[in-house]
């Protein structure tokens, strides 16, 4: 039997996990090719510590090519441009057009034929959505290791100036009304506060958390409720407590309209416009799809058929527009197979969520101020593994996908660092089950409170350190990597 050709677009958590398991399970039965525009794997959760100068980028990055070479996975350093799921002209062989980003070969285009394709490209960091946002503008980011390093350099320079007696204001949060990944902004603000204390300049700093969440602790998941001290308590209470204890102010329901040097303007859900001055701002960008296009065999553009307007790929979810009250957990994808092309899948951030998890809201001016649903980390890897399993089984004769990984049926375990020190550091440990609330099974809060919990303490920090080393070991595909859960 000829080798099946499996192409994985993207080498982040989802793409790397899927490619690793596909090769492990299929061996010589398939040629697994990973296409990624960057040469390195980035363990993104630890970028937070790069962003405050505690880690160097090399401690969260490693080159992919040698790892893939050792495990028989083909690596193409390139970006995907156009999908041709029907082939072209008379040739029905599906392929993807790619453009090399390898130094010396930049811009060279080629065709990569496939029997199965997994789109795990992750997001485009859409700094352009907000004028002046991002490292090319007037704020910083920790979304990539190089971004985090630039943020760290700015942070450490301000620390030096505070040591000389200057007062500084830090603004941390989300740079647009539709951002996701509030967890990363939360981690950065509390780590920044911890480091200012550790460096003896906390009294010279004002810290403001600026977020598109309706209440802090929403995290794009419509908040989390946990049983504690005889009460069912929303995550807002715990998050506000953490901020209040650390002297961090917060602004919620905010859509950042634009930044200029040292100043951000924003609109709040009540339609009012404000501005805030800062000496350093770390504001996350909104995400959108990477801009993949699609064509049918006659060369007609079918991008709108395959992708949602956000640029993320449509899979087996229910994308019918509906009101918040009509949202159902069953709307969420289960197999991540494209409905039109059975050999096409999407995983991680690259799949289009059917709707937000948090209640959609907009200002009187019509500005949407609603966190987008998170689909990073553990759910991303679990989805990728389920898709890898389905593709493996389909190559071996199954007529369709064999595994499901709905975010409405899986939970997530998450550890958010709140200070990096083996004796005085802390982290918030959380589990949520399920990620997407299911109000039919759990009418009160949409989640099973027996498996949804959270607490802050040093133990969480130890777990965070353990996860950093464990997941880098797994990503490097070192001995027993596959035994480490997603």
């Amino acid at each position: 039997m000829a080798q099946a050709r499996v192409v994985v677009l993207g080498a982040g958590v989802a793409g790397h996990t899927a490619a690793s398991f596909l090769k492990k399970w299929l061996g010589a039965k398939a040629e697994v090719t990973v296409v990624s525009p960057r040469p390195d794997y980035n363990w993104i959760p630890s970028n937070i510590w790069v962003g405050v100068g505690l880690l160097q980028p090399r401690q969260v990055l490693f080159p992919l090519a040698p790892v893939y070479a050792r495990h028989g996975i083909t690596f193409r350093q390139a970006r995907a441009l156009v999908l041709h799921p029907e082939g072209a002209g008379e040739d029905p062989q599906p392929f993807v057009e790619i453009e090399s980003t390898l130094p010396g070969e930049e811009g060279q285009r080629s065709r990569l034929p496939y029997d199965f394709l997994l789109n795990a490209t992750g997001p485009k960091l859409n700094f352009d959505a907000t004028p002046g946002l991002g490292p090319g503008g007037h704020s910083y980011s920790v979304c990539t290791a190089p971004h985090a390093k630039v943020a760290a350099d700015a942070f450490l320079e301000l620390v030096e100036r505070m040591r000389r007696g200057e007062r500084k204001r830090f603004v941390v949060g989300t740079g647009h009304g539709t951002c996701t990944c509030q967890g990363a902004a939360f981690e950065y603000v509390v780590n920044l506060e911890f480091e200012l204390r550790a460096r003896g300049v906390r009294d010279k700093a004002e810290i403001v958390y600026l977020t598109n969440e309706y209440e802090v602790g929403d995290f794009g998941m419509d908040a989390v409720h946990i049983r504690r001290g005889g009460y069912v308590t929303p995550s807002k209470v715990f998050t506000e407590s953490l901020f209040a204890e650390r002297g961090v102010d917060w602004v919620t329901r905010a859509h950042v309209q634009g930044l200029e040097p040292g100043r951000a303007t924003f609109e709040t859900l009540d339609g009012a416009e404000h501005d805030i001055a800062f000496d350093m701002a770390m504001l996350l960008p909104p995400f959108k799809g990477v801009g993949l296009q699609a064509m049918d065999r006659l060369g007609a553009d079918i991008t709108a058929r395959l992708f949602a307007p956000s640029g993320f790929m449509k899979v087996d979810g229910d994308y019918t527009p509906k009101a918040y009250e009509a949202f159902r957990s069953a709307d969420w994808p289960r197999t991540y197979q494209n409905p039109d092309y059975p050999n096409l899948f999407a995983a991680g951030i690259a799949f289009a969520p059917p709707h937000p998890i948090s209640r959609p809201r907009q200002s009187p001016k019509g500005t949407p101020i609603t966190p987008a649903p998170p689909r990073t980390g553990m759910p991303s890897a679990m989805i990728a593994k389920a898709v890898a399993h389905s593709i493996t089984d389909m190559i071996q004769g199954s007529p369709g996908p064999t595994r499901t990984a709905s975010m409405a049926e899986m939970g997530a375990a998450c550890v958010a660092s709140a200070g990096n020190n083996p004796f005085t550091g802390t982290a918030a440990s959380m589990t949520v089950y399920p990620i997407v609330p299911d109000y039919e099974r759990y009418p009160d809060y949409g989640r099973d409170l027996r498996h949804t919990f959270g607490e802050i303490g040093l133990a969480g920090h130890w777990i965070k350190i353990l996860l950093h080393h464990m997941f880098l070991h797994k990503a490097r595909l070192r001995p027993f990597w596959s035994l480490i859960p997603e």
């Binding site: 007062r167 204001r169 004002e206 403001v208 209470v237 715990f238 506000e240 407590s241 901020f243 209040a244 204890e245 002297g247 102010d249 917060w250 602004v251 919620t252 040292g262 100043r263 709040t268 009012a272 404000h274 501005d275 805030i276 001055a277 197999t335 553990m378 679990m382 389920a386 399993h389 369709g400 996908p401 064999t402 595994r403 499901t404 990984a405 709905s406 049926e409 899986m410 939970g411 997530a412 375990a413 004796f423 005085t424 802390t426 440990s429 589990t431 949520v432 089950y433 399920p434 498996h451 919990f453 607490e455 802050i456 303490g457 040093l458 133990a459 130890w462 777990i463 859960p485 997603e486």
Partner: protein, 66 residues
């Protein structure tokens, strides 16, 4: 309001909230968060809780029944 505590460029952020209405931990709660013995116990308990949720989630990825 935040402007009142600033010593430099004033800005208009009326909805920056004071922490007055937030829940704050008491001394013993703060002490327990970094107590080595207590946190070793919590380390074990948190790991067990996480393993339980991971295990439930892996069951969600079970085979589709034909």
């Amino acid at each position: 309001m935040v402007e009142e505590r600033l010593h430099y460029t004033p800005s208009s952020v009326p909805q920056v909230r004071t922490a007055f209405f937030a829940t704050l931990p008491t001394g013993p709660t703060r002490w327990r968060r970094t107590s080595l013995v207590w946190q070793m116990v919590r380390f074990a308990i948190i790991n067990l809780k996480m393993i339980r949720v991971i295990s439930l989630s892996h069951h969600a990825g079970r085979k589709i029944r034909s």
